[in-house]
């Protein structure tokens, strides 16, 4: 396996102090291998969103390290962290992914424009065709359906040729058909062009699109599963609900 595109080592994240202290991450170490589609699953409160935020440089760890490639995020100041997000990371959020004042095309090239980079026409065209939005390029986000908006977000996330794309419940606000399209789009992009995607979700059906699923509970990594299906994932999740939360971590 190639070097990981991103990883966290002994990640600890504590919110609050004293009585109100919450350990959202409690010593998580995990690699996100390059060229793979990884899903992060867990019940709500398991720390999966915190993990993603810290791995993506949106939040800082209390202790431990988060790395993108070989760059330790804790060594970066706000400005360099921002530039790292701009140039090496792509984002797809659950909702409100697009700037209402920009057209679809402008939203897609936003990170490139912020960096002052010129847009490679051929790459851009290929991206637009992949997400199937050619006839919508000059529309505003408010003129698009929820599914179309998320596809624009996906295109934006990949536009800058990032090392890794983080997707936070990208289908959480979509109906199942639109969600399916977005997930297939993510999977196809990883497999066709060798990109890296890390997706946080609580939906077993969504997780089934990934190459590998890692399971988080109470701020710890509890399991990993390669070649997931919706049923397998669902069963694993049910196991958490019935109280079997402490399965030894590490590779299966």
């Amino acid at each position: 396996m190639t070097a990981p595109a991103a990883r966290v080592v002994d990640a600890v994240k504590v919110y609050g102090r004293g009585d109100t202290e919450v350990r959202a991450l409690d010593g998580v170490s995990v690699d996100f291998p390059a060229g793979r589609f990884t899903a992060v699953m867990g019940p709500s409160g398991s720390g999966k969103s915190t993990l993603m935020h810290c791995a993506a440089g949106l939040d800082t760890l209390t202790s431990g390290a988060a790395l993108v490639g070989d760059t330790d995020l804790s060594t970066l100041d706000d400005r360099r962290l921002t530039l790292l997000r701009r140039d090496r990371i792509g984002f797809v959020f659950q909702a409100f992914n697009l700037l209402p004042t920009l057209t679809v095309a402008e939203n897609i090239t936003l990170p490139l424009d912020l960096a002052g980079r010129t847009v490679d026409r051929r790459r851009f065209d290929r991206l637009v065709d992949t997400v199937g939005l050619r006839d919508r390029l000059h529309h505003r986000p408010s003129e698009l359906s929820g599914g179309q908006q998320q596809r624009v977000a996906v295109a934006r996330a990949f536009a800058g040729d990032p090392d890794v794309v983080f997707a936070d419940e990208p289908t959480g606000n979509l109906d199942s058909r639109s969600g399916e399209e977005v997930l297939r789009l993510l999977g196809r992009t990883v497999r066709d062009t060798g990109r890296t995607v890390v997706m946080v979700t609580h939906d077993p059906v969504a997780a089934a699109h990934a190459d590998e699923v890692i399971f988080l509970a109470d701020g710890r990594l509890v399991d990993r599963m390669t070649g997931p299906t919706a049923d397998l994932v669902l069963d694993r999740m049910k196991a958490f609900d019935t109280g079997i939360t402490t399965v030894p971590g590490g590779a299966p």
């Binding site: 949106l58 400005r79 921002t82 984002f91 409100f96 209402p100 936003l110 960096a115 408010s142 934006r156």
Partner: protein, 850 residues
């Protein structure tokens, strides 16, 4: 209606959104403070002057003076004829009179220790006789002694300080003949260092008669003191039988009231009104600022209000709640403004003496009006500005709670465009009808101006979209592009924000254009009408200065370098019953130094009963060569004059010309206001000027000016006025900028998620700050351009409506460019705090905000 619930809501909303009301609070506070400060300062000055005059003239029980005054058109104060000084001795023997002393008063300008003239920039520069009877003398000796020999003077302490003169110093008093004087004493007036900034020099009676009156034995008036037990009224009644014809007596009380009226009624009222106009502008600007704040708040609170409606709040309760919020902010801000205003007035009272303005001692006068009026204005402005947004809040449909709030596209409706267009057309039509007609009149022009302001306000949102697009076109790059689009998001809001600035800039532009037009007019006047090479003048504004010695013109004329030197003096008379200013000169020589245009008749032989009249004035009063007019002078005499010539250009020469011989029997203190000089053939300009300057130096150092310098000096007062106006308008512009900052803060709050997203996908903090700043600059640019246009138009209207065909309209490009630049820079500054706040947003919280 359940008021407590409404109030509770208002209160909790205020508490929760304190920061958002900062702009509103500041706008009201500044406006109210300005208003309060003006009123309190006006009242305090008035009271101080009252008590000063009362204490200065306490010992004077009656004043005897000529009953004849002539007031020329446009003059604030008439010219009164003299009385016989010998009358004082006769009056002193009237039973009931303890003492009577002649008072001689005239113009006298001191030269400071460094040779520059003292005062003359508004308040009068006076000289008079030192009255030995202390009770009748309004001035008190503070240091030194009274003048006893010729050339000895007492100077009021304020003037002495300004001039840097002390006891024993020698200087020159222009009366306007230069008199060498030695300061032997310093005096106070009514307990202060002077009567405001009026300078006063006291001479011996003999000197005063010699230098300040036309003939020895004349006095301006006679001050009379009553014997024991005689009231002022009884005194006046006793004096009356002893008075010759044409002489009147008034009580000391009346004289003091007249003096007070002259200062408070004319100067202070004008001053207060002037300041009130500018606080009005500030208040108007804050109305737009506050209205905008509430409009944005109500829009942001749509869901909250809809929820309230859904759970059963009545429409009235929502409206009342919003208004209660506005009134609470208004009340708090107004109270703070009252305190601030009183503080400003107290500060100024302390500051004035420090900058050499003798401010009479006395407590601050805070009347009920100066408290209630600003308070009322503050509350009314707040409630009035919030009314429309409140009504809109009340109209919120309960269902709106369930809808996602959209980008607001209001303000660009067709109806608005049509209404605004119609208003604009009406404005332009009315103005054109007013100013382009055969006789321009102010009323249609003023109506048109008001319509134009209304049209600009109504058209704002329609124009905003277009203007931001055009103004934002040169902006390249993604951050500036985003800024442009943010400014375009809600044209209504952008326009309302910019309107406040637009009004401020429009007033600035109006004054700038008007001032430049006045200057251009002066330039052109001098250019067209001044045919000489140099002018000798004593630059002064208002009542100050003493003019030029009448002996200067003959002395200059005697120089070999000089061809012609003509002095122009000033006289007054009633011409057929109407008070008019006369130009006393040598009409025959005048045409060689001034271009009078076409002359009908002859200027060479006016004699002692001839008159020359300017063409416009002649047409207006039905005079023509050969006709006669009856002139009444201040000494009460009437003479029939024959019009011997009618000349075309009156701008430098004035409307009536008479010879010195004709004026001599009626003259008062003699002075020329201008000596126009043309050089002999072949004399170089520098040589001529040097020769004239050498002579002028012997006559009290008046300035010798080339044509360009003369034009410049004539316009000197305009720049001074403009500076003051700019200072006063700075507050209105500041309020407008607070409005921009406030709207931006609200917008940043509204766009929290967008900003978070931008930061997440890689917008750096400095890029984000630049984005907010550029949006602010765009809004400011729109306001500035609108203001420049509106102000320029109004300035043009004002110039044209004056009805004076010689009035030139000028557009001062450099100054207006500076105004535009200030507007843009100020816009960038206004964004400072919102941009910083936006940049400090935590990304995670921003993208998690629901």
């Amino acid at each position: 209606m359940n008021t407590p619930a409404t109030l509770r809501l208002a209160r909790s909303s205020l508490r929760a959104h304190r920061r958002r009301f900062l702009g509103t609070f500041a706008a009201v506070l500044l406006g109210v403070a300005f208003l309060t400060g003006t009123l309190v300062m006006g009242d305090t000055l008035r009271a101080s002057f009252d008590s000063m005059f009362t204490s200065a003239t306490r010992g004077t029980d009656a004043i005897v003076r000529s009953a004849t005054t002539v007031t020329a058109a446009g003059e604030a104060q008439g010219t009164r004829g003299p009385v016989d000084a010998a009358l004082a001795e006769r009056l002193a023997r009237v039973p009931g009179v303890a003492a009577a002393a002649p008072r001689i008063e005239g113009a006298g300008q001191l030269l400071a220790a460094d040779g520059t003239p003292v005062g003359g920039k508004g308040p009068p520069t006076l000289a008079g006789n030192w009255i030995e009877d202390a009770a009748l003398n309004p001035y008190r000796l503070a240091e030194g002694r009274e003048p006893s020999a010729s050339g000895e003077v007492v100077v009021n302490r304020g003037a002495a300080k300004t001039a840097g003169l002390g006891i024993g110093d020698t200087t020159v008093l222009r009366t306007p003949d230069p008199v060498k004087v030695t300061v032997v004493g310093l005096a106070t007036f009514g307990g202060a260092d002077g009567m405001g900034q009026v300078t006063w020099t006291g001479l011996t009676r003999a000197d005063a008669e010699k230098y300040l009156t036309a003939r020895p034995g004349e006095a301006t008036s006679i001050a009379v003191r009553a014997g024991p037990g005689v009231s002022q009224e009884e005194l006046v009644a006793a004096l009356r039988p002893a008075l010759p014809d044409g002489v009147e007596a008034i009580t000391g009380q009346q004289a003091a009231e007249e003096n007070t009226e002259m200062v408070s009624g004319r100067f202070l009222d004008l001053f207060t009104t002037f300041l009130l106009v500018f606080s009005g502008v500030a208040v108007l600007v804050s109305v737009f600022t506050i209205h905008n704040t509430f409009a944005v708040l109500v829009a942001q609170r749509t869901r909250e209000n809809a929820l309230l409606r859904a759970i059963g709040a009545a429409r009235r309760q929502i409206v009342a709640g919003t208004l209660a919020e506005a009134l609470t902010v208004g009340l708090l801000a107004s109270l703070a403004g009252l305190l601030a205003g009183i503080g400003v007035a107290a500060g100024l009272q302390a500051l004035f003496p420090a900058i050499g303005f003798p401010f009479p001692e006395g407590d601050l006068v805070v009347t009920g009006t100066s408290l209630l009026l600003p308070l009322g204005v503050g509350l009314a402005v707040c409630a009035g500005s919030a009314l429309l947004p409140a009504v809109r809040a009340g109209r919120t449909a309960p269902l709106a709670a369930l809808r996602e709030t959209d980008v607001d596209g209001s303000g660009t409706s067709r109806r608005r465009a049509l209404t605004g267009g119609a208003l604009l057309a009406a404005a332009v039509g009315t103005v054109l009808a007013g100013v382009l007609g055969s006789s321009p009149s102010l009323w249609p022009a003023a109506t048109g101006a008001v319509l134009a302001v209304a049209a600009f306000v109504v058209l704002g949102p329609v124009a905003a979209a277009l203007a931001v697009r055009v103004l934002g076109r040169p902006l390249r790059g993604v951050n500036r592009g985003l800024a442009r689009r943010n400014a375009l998001r809600s044209p209504g809001r952008t326009a309302a924000t910019a309107t406040a600035l637009m009004i401020g800039v429009a007033v600035v532009t109006l004054f700038t254009v008007f001032g430049a037009s006045l200057k251009a007019t002066m330039d052109r006047t001098v250019d067209r009408s001044f045919a000489g090479d140099v002018a000798v003048g004593a630059p002064s504004f208002g009542a100050g200065g003493s003019g030029l010695s009448p002996r200067l013109a003959p002395a200059v004329a005697a120089l070999p370098e000089v061809d012609t030197a003509v002095g122009l003096g000033r006289g007054v008379a009633e011409v057929d019953g109407r008070g008019r200013a006369l130009t006393v000169t040598d009409p025959a020589a005048l045409a060689r130094v001034l271009d009078l245009g076409e002359v009908r008749g002859s200027l060479t032989a006016l004699g002692t009963d001839g008159l020359a009249v300017a063409a416009d004035e002649a047409a207006a009063s039905g005079l023509a060569p050969g006709r006669t007019a009856e002139l009444t002078f201040t000494d009460g005499s009437r003479h029939t004059f024959t019009v011997r010539a009618v000349y075309e250009r009156s701008d430098l020469a004035g409307d009536y010309l008479v010879t010195r011989a004709a004026w001599a029997p009626h003259r008062t203190q003699d002075a020329d206001r201008l000596v126009a000089v043309s050089f002999a053939d072949g004399v170089r300009a520098e040589d001529g000027k040097a020769a004239v300057t050498a002579v002028a130096d012997r006559y009290g150092h008046p300035e010798v000016q080339t044509r360009a310098e003369y034009a410049e000096a004539s316009a000197g007062g305009i720049d001074m006025m403009l500076t003051l106006v700019y200072a006063l308008l700075a507050l209105a512009v500041l309020i407008a900028l607070l409005g921009i900052a406030n709207t931006l803060t609200l917008a940043v709050h509204e766009r929290t998620r967008e900003l978070g997203l931008l930061r997440a996908v890689g917008q750096t903090r400095s890029q984000l700050r630049a984005m907010v700043r550029w949006e602010s600059v765009l809004v400011a640019a729109f306001g500035t351009v609108g203001g420049l246009t509106l102000g320029g138009f109004l300035g043009w209207v004002l110039v044209r409506a004056s009805g004076d065909s010689a009035f030139v309209f000028a557009v001062p490009a450099v100054r207006l460019a500076a105004v535009a630049l200030v507007g843009l820079v100020a816009g960038a500054l206004a964004a400072w705090r919102p941009a910083r706040r936006a940049a400090r947003l935590e990304i995670l919280r921003a993208i998690a905000t629901e």
